[in-house]
Symmetry: C2
Subunit: 328 residues, 2 copies
């Protein structure tokens, strides 16, 4: 029998989850829950329901796992603990500093309900965290470095759009090749923010706007751009739509460490992602972890988990015998 | 209190385990067990015992985990099931085709004794398996490719040494750059053995030996070389010892897959290792999994596990709180 999945929130992430389920034989989409008028939300999956979010507490007999596709700033801190009272749940909570707090709230709810919740699932936090953790456990005499990009940062693009005279913008975070290579060399460099990443901005200005002022406001913006080497390109709306419509992303986790009686041997562990669609990849990770939480709950487990706490075999539809025979 | 480790077998792998424990604060070496005369085996760790292998069944009160550093061909199929009767154990069994059989034997012993055993731990099988499995679970519409090298293949070096007129040899397995790039492109190429790897051999010939005959015997050797483009260099013993004394290795697991309503987006997940010392890196993985089996056993688990079955958090000396705060 298929694992029946609910999607709460139907933005980029929710649509990505729907697509991932479509290509996953052992799972099926039961319903999408939306805060919009369900009549106006069109989904891709024939047979799946579109329901108002108010219905989302009432379908325990039809849904095995709820994938919560809200935003980390305000949605998930409320939604995930709430729905963990009713369902096995998975979210992609990515405010790193607030993870301990979020974990505690979700854990309390999931223990109480006897369900399994997986939080902070995706690629960072998620796959990158897993690689930082495992590499550090294998080579404790070493350091991990994380680089992001080349990819679109939604937050930085939004920050540019708030500048007066800007009609639209797209910002790419780009890792600096020399920094990557310095890390790979095992020299254990100390790298400043500026040395690790550059930022490239494609901006559509309003007609007659002062481009030099916009450029200056971007490159001096505290937190977002001031600490980086930032390049600004002014382009037409047509160019933006033609050349920058995608949401690619990716990055690198590189861990270098030493072994040997006198630490005379160097090793490099490198994990990298090159993603055409950031939300669709994140969604694919969410769906694999939805399988895991369902199966863990069937085995009697409960409480909040992260990627650290979940044995990898739970992610795969294959049996232990199959995994050992074909993938070990 | 430290986790007390025993090492069974003191070759390259056993010495690597000893070095890894030396640099790992929460573990200590209790004893090395050897088939050689213990009087003649000198180890690096002050305070650790060197004992004959016959003593290895009798130290349950002094050893929490036994790391079994024998060979996969004949040692481990006997040793691991045997010592799983007495200890939590870890091995690096790497005969891929016989893993199911080995798993069954070790699982029976470990269930009976109530201990935890981890088999086939290292990098392939091991970290590479983990990456193949997780990537395939996340992007089921895709394919995984494994490349090995650049690195020394002990088996191939030995095969050359058995040729008449060869005094010594070192063989490197080298992934073909074009093949790596074809895989990374997402084009999902079908690659022959010859297209994936080349082999480079450094051979010290006996004086007066027929070099052309040796070269021909190498490049036409079935299974080992005939299916590859193989280069043979004849060098002096001095050069071999000077330039080819190390045991480097490494490789790549590359998974490409598609997402989206019509699979219109491509993604590349790449994991790679670049290792100065193959045995020391494998040993470092063994030691991290020794920590895991000890902790799992303390929580009441038993039976045989592989890297698929072990939640990553068990590998790290950090607590769940610390992991979530610093590495997620």
């Amino acid at each position: 029998m298929s694992i029946r999945v609910g999607i709460l929130g139907y933005g980029n992430l929710g649509r990505g989850v729907e697509c991932a389920i479509k290509h996953t034989p052992d799972m099926e989409l039961a319903a999408v829950f939306t805060r919009r008028d369900p009549e106006r939300v069109r989904i891709l999956t024939a047979g799946a329901k579109v329901l108002p979010v108010s219905e989302a507490e009432k379908m325990q007999d039809q849904i095995d796992v709820m994938i919560i596709c809200g935003g980390s700033a305000t949605d998930l801190p409320k939604q995930t603990p709430h729905y963990a009272k009713f369902y096995n749940v998975v979210d992609s909570f990515d405010t790193h500093a607030k993870i301990p707090e979020h974990f505690a709230a979700v854990d309390a709810a999931a223990r109480e309900s006897g369900k399994v919740a997986a939080i902070s699932v995706g690629w960072d936090p998620g796959m990158f965290s897993l690689n930082r953790m495992i590499a550090g456990a294998i080579l404790p005499q070493g350091s991990s470095y994380t680089f992001w990009g080349k990819g679109v940062s939604q937050g930085h693009s939004d920050a540019i759009r708030r500048i007066e005279g800007v009609r639209d913008a797209r910002q790419y975070t780009i890792p600096v090749e020399e920094a990557l290579n310095a890390v790979r060399s095992g020299s254990n460099p100390e790298l400043t923010t500026r040395q690790k990443h550059t930022r490239e901005c494609f901006v559509v200005a309003e007609e007659g706007a002062d481009l030099e002022r916009i450029r200056r406001e971007i490159v001096t913006m505290p937190n977002y751009f001031a600490d980086y080497d930032t390049t600004v390109h002014f382009i037409s709306e047509e160019e933006l739509n033609r050349d920058h419509a995608g949401i690619p992303h990716g990055g690198f986790v590189i861990h270098t460490g030493k072994t040997g009686a006198n630490l005379e041997h160097n090793h490099v562990i490198e994990y990298s992602l090159k993603l055409d669609s950031n939300p669709e990849f994140t969604s694919s990770v969410l769906v694999a972890y939805a399988r895991a939480v369902y199966r863990m709950n069937r085995e009697g487990m409960s409480g909040c988990k992260t990627v650290f706490d979940i044995a990898p075999a739970y992610l795969s539809p294959m049996s232990g015998d199959e995994l050992r025979a074909h993938l070990l």
